[in-house]
């Protein structure tokens, strides 16, 4: 398949999907979300869709399933033919037999009317009027393929995100669509959940299913896809092999960062043998560059050693001291302890807390924030015990940005939303406004101050939530999954914010699943599992310890994983 799947080689008559000059505008908006998109996909291809937020990727997936324009209404032009049928005219309940759509939020894809996984998966088949024996056959097959047979009697709402998302995929798969469209299926999952879903998708691709997948995890797209559809600003920029797409000199202008291998190779001028315009995009393609890479790692390690990693005095001051902390959500003697005898000292260093879902990360930061009260042990902030203080009284000291911005936004003007916190903690109006505008500048939303937060995109709303905590000028700032839903540009902004806050002498604590982000931004990494600390140190110290990573079920950052896979000693941060 490699390099042979050029768009022009596709004979437009027998393609499974044909999109021709598709234009679309959502109701009550001014600009087009899709501006003349054309491409064809053949049976059995695995297509990756890459692009920045607002590039039109999701809209395109919805158009393939007929939801655009049938569900959303709005202005529609051009032609989408899927499996021989026009997507805008065929009823959705018919198209869904050809195109299966899986989207980001696993929770909202559950029908909400079934209380076992088995019945949940059957929901679509019931609607299609499939005979009971056939239903059972298909459900059993899909459950086996997605490795969820063991949950068949469980309530789907009791599953973890990764399990839930696989149930969602199974629910679509049983309807036996020829095409599976996945819209960032792993964006809300932890690393293990992500891996589970990707493995399942890969199995489907190998079984010959035609797959289109929108994804921000670019290394995965490069690894799996035959071709990449690169989108920017509602249009297709390019549609070609991953090598050609990610080797484009102007790629970052479209808001897409190439895979770590490509970035490194580009910087070093390591191109694919005999093709000076193409760079490696997958780990396997890095093999020929093992020697120069090893030399580079040694050189960088030496440089880092000379520079010296002495932490400044201000960063060594203790902020939080946690002693023998225990916590559980249930009461009683047999209650499962979510935090179990934790001892920890947090100083001024930017600290990332990593670990699987259920490891106790969020519980720990909620305890620091005072949202939860310890069952045993104590937490000292600046030397005083905080267990007796209300959350609101701690608000001026410790800021906490929740995972979902929609859990907090309630004002109809961005500036008011950002000013809510500062006013609550007793800042006067002028100071609050000044602080809020500064916070909005920091997150890059100074132009949105007068807008309604709900008119913004999710990634921007997330930044509003960040600003609304930054404006409170707290000494400690806790982020829960700040990179979720952020594209390349958003991640860069988050990096800048974290570095800036840290530079101002504030303690930044973040819960993260994105290991590359951890390696690039944080000086201290705490690995949690089963309610206690498994490892604690610099990113280098932590990501070097294979056993610990395995026990906490954590993946290395791509750069570290690459060195490890190529048998190169040591870990180094490759700032590329």
């Amino acid at each position: 398949m490699e390099n042979s799947g050029r768009m022009d080689s596709v004979a437009a008559g027998n393609a499974l999907i044909e999109v021709e000059n598709l234009k679309y505008r959502y109701p009550h908006t001014q600009s087009l979300a899709l501006k003349g998109v054309s491409f064809c996909v053949n049976q059995g291809e695995f297509i990756g869709i890459a692009g920045a937020n607002k590039a039109g990727k999701s809209t395109l997936t919805q158009a393939l399933a007929g939801l655009v324009p049938q569900f959303y209404k709005g202005a529609y032009g051009g032609r989408v033919v899927v499996d021989g049928r026009e997507a805008d005219k065929t009823p959705i309940c018919e198209i869904c037999k050809s195109v299966g759509l899986v989207f980001q939020n696993p929770f909202n894809q559950l029908s909400g009317a079934k209380d076992s996984v088995y019945e949940e998966i059957a929901f679509g088949l019931q609607n299609m009027g499939i005979a009971p024996e056939e239903m059972r056959r298909r459900i059993d097959e899909a459950m086996a393929l997605l490795d969820i047979s063991q949950y068949r009697g469980k309530n789907p709402f009791d599953l973890s995100g990764g399990q839930m998302q696989r149930v969602a995929i199974a629910s679509i798969l049983v309807m036996e669509p020829k095409i599976l469209v996945l819209d960032e299926p792993t964006s809300q999952l932890d690393p293990a959940g992500t891996e589970e879903v990707f493995k399942a998708v890969l199995r489907l691709a190998k079984a010959g299913k035609t797959i289109l997948m929108v994804e921000q995890k670019i290394e995965k797209l490069a690894e799996y896809c035959n071709r990449i559809l690169l989108m920017a600003d509602g249009a297709v920029v390019d549609f070609d092999t991953p090598e050609r797409i990610f080797s484009r000199a102007d790629l970052e202008k479209t808001g897409v960062q190439p895979p770590v291998y490509t970035r490194l190779a580009k910087a070093q001028g390591w191109h694919i043998d005999g093709k000076p315009e193409l760079y490696p995009v997958r780990l396997a393609q890095m093999q020929p560059f093992r020697e120069p890479l090893a030399a580079l790692v040694r050189q960088l390690a030496d440089a880092a050693a000379v520079e010296g990693a002495d932490t400044p005095e201000t960063e060594r001051q203790t902020v939080f001291e946690i002693k023998a902390l225990t916590f559980s959500y249930d009461e009683g003697a047999d209650a499962r302890r979510v935090i179990d005898g934790l001892n920890l000292c947090l100083d001024g260093r930017a600290t990332a807390i990593i670990g699987q879902n259920g490891a106790g990360k969020t519980t720990l930061v909620k305890l620091l924030k005072g949202l939860l009260k310890p069952a045993g042990g104590s937490i000292y902030y600046n030397g005083t015990d905080i267990s007796g203080r209300t959350v609101a009284s701690l608000a001026g000291e410790v800021g906490y940005v929740f995972q979902s911005p929609d859990d907090q936004i309630f004002k109809s003007r961005v500036l008011d939303e950002v000013m809510f916190g500062p006013l609550n903690i007793g800042m006067d109006k002028a100071a609050a406004k000044e602080r809020s505008l500064a916070a909005l500048r920091m997150v890059g939303l100074e132009d949105a101050a007068e807008k309604n937060p709900y008119d913004l995109e999710l990634a921007e709303r997330k930044m509003v939530a960040v600003a609304s905590v930054l404006s409170m000028d707290t000494r400690v700032i806790i982020f829960d999954e700040p990179t979720i839903a952020q594209d390349y540009a958003g991640r860069e902004t988050m990096k800048r914010i974290i570095r800036e806050l840290s530079g101002q002498g504030r303690l930044v604590i973040a819960i993260l699943h994105d290991m590359d982000f951890v390696a690039e931004c944080f000086t201290r990494v705490i690995v949690m599992a089963h309610g206690s600390v498994l490892a604690d140190g610099t990113p280098k110290e932590v990501f070097d310890r294979e056993q610990i990573l395995e026990e906490a079920r954590i993946e290395r950052p791509y750069a570290a994983a690459m060195c490890n896979a190529l048998g190169i000693e040591g870990y180094v941060r490759l700032d590329i």
């Binding site: 939801l67 569900f71 009823p91 959705i92 309940c93 869904c96 299966g100 759509l101 989207f103 939020n105 909202n108 894809q109 029908s111 909400g112 009317a113 079934k114 209380d115 076992s116 088995y118 019945e119 059957a122 929901f123 679509g124 019931q126 609607n127 299609m128 009027g129 009971p132 239903m135 059972r136 068949r152 009697g153 469980k154 309530n155 009791d158 969602a168 629910s171 679509i172 309807m175 909620k366 924030k369 949202l371 209300t390 959350v391 609101a392 608000a395 800021g399 906490y400 929740f402 929609d406 859990d407 907090q408 936004i409 309630f410 809510f420 916190g421 609550n424 903690i425 609304s468 409170m472």
Partner: protein, 276 residues
């Protein structure tokens, strides 16, 4: 899970409690396996027969039968809170009717100046038994029927699947919404909003909760609507079900018995009136 899954998984599902606001107890006894309509028919029989006959003994017999059914299915404990709640009402009825019933003539019990009358107490007994009868027969139904099973049974009789969906989804989605609510409270407390304190403080704290809750449920509803669409919810095909509800022989038998009882009560009543 009497509808679809048998054997090992069935036991597993018993252990995992469903997150739901329904009172259904999935303990796998004969009552949970009984067809929902049979249980509905029992409510009708118990209430109707007692009212038609007007005889206090008939009330008592049905209360007895219902209690036995609950005990035998291990559900009596769950029904106790209902009874306790109703007792407070019953005691009030006894006091009021026993003392002030307008037909009170024959003193039954004298406590100083307070006199309980026979007529009033009898009348209160009738009301009390009526309430208990309804409560118990209804408890059998509510405690042993999965809402989803009832809706499915109704759908098979031609009930709209859309309406059926609304009913079943409420049982799953409301507990989820309550979870969101507590996250939202935490998010606002985190930004210094005082939520602990007097009535005014708490009332003021309520306002910043409303709009995120509403917006969240709107977004979720919209997404869920899409999820339903792409799973063919609008399909014109005739819906199929995972397994046929095998209406057991016992269901048929019970239905016949119930019918005989109701008809019997009517005939008895008519005969009674005629003879008099």
């Amino acid at each position: 899970m009497p509808l679809s899954i048998e054997g090992k998984d069935y036991e597993e599902s018993m252990v995992i409690r469903m997150k739901s606001i329904s009172l259904y107890v999935d303990n796998g006894t004969y009552l949970t396996r009984m067809h929902p309509f049979t249980k509905l028919f029992y409510i009708l029989t118990a209430v109707l027969t007692a009212v038609i006959s007007g005889n206090l003994w008939v009330y008592a017999i049905f209360v007895g039968i219902s209690s036995l059914a609950l005990v035998s299915a291990g559900l009596f404990k769950k029904a106790v809170p209902l009874v306790v709640f109703s007792f407070t009402v019953l005691i009030v009825i006894f006091l009021i009717q026993g003392l002030f019933y307008y037909r009170n003539e024959t003193p039954l019990l004298e406590l100083g100046a307070v006199v309980f009358y026979r007529e009033g107490v009898l009348y209160a007994v009738r009301i009390g038994l009526n309430i208990l009868n309804m409560l118990f027969s209804f408890a059998i139904f509510v405690l042993s029927t999965k809402p989803q099973d009832l809706v499915e049974a109704l759908e098979r009789k031609g009930f709209s699947p859309r309406f059926g969906y609304v009913i079943t989804s409420v049982f799953q989605i409301i507990p989820q919404m309550m979870g969101t609510m507590s996250t939202i409270t935490d998010a606002q407390r985190s930004r210094g909003m005082e939520t602990e304190g007097g009535l005014l403080v708490r009332a003021r704290a309520f306002i910043p909760l409303i709009s995120p809750v509403v917006m969240n449920s709107l977004t979720n509803t919209r997404e869920r609507a899409i999820a339903l669409e792409v799973r063919g919810f609008d399909s014109k095909e005739r819906k199929t079900y995972l397994s046929e509800w095998k209406k057991q022989k016992s269901d048929t038998l019970l239905n016949i018995v119930f019918l005989i009882i109701i008809v019997g009560a009517i005939i008895w009543k008519i005969a009674d009136v005629w003879i008099l």
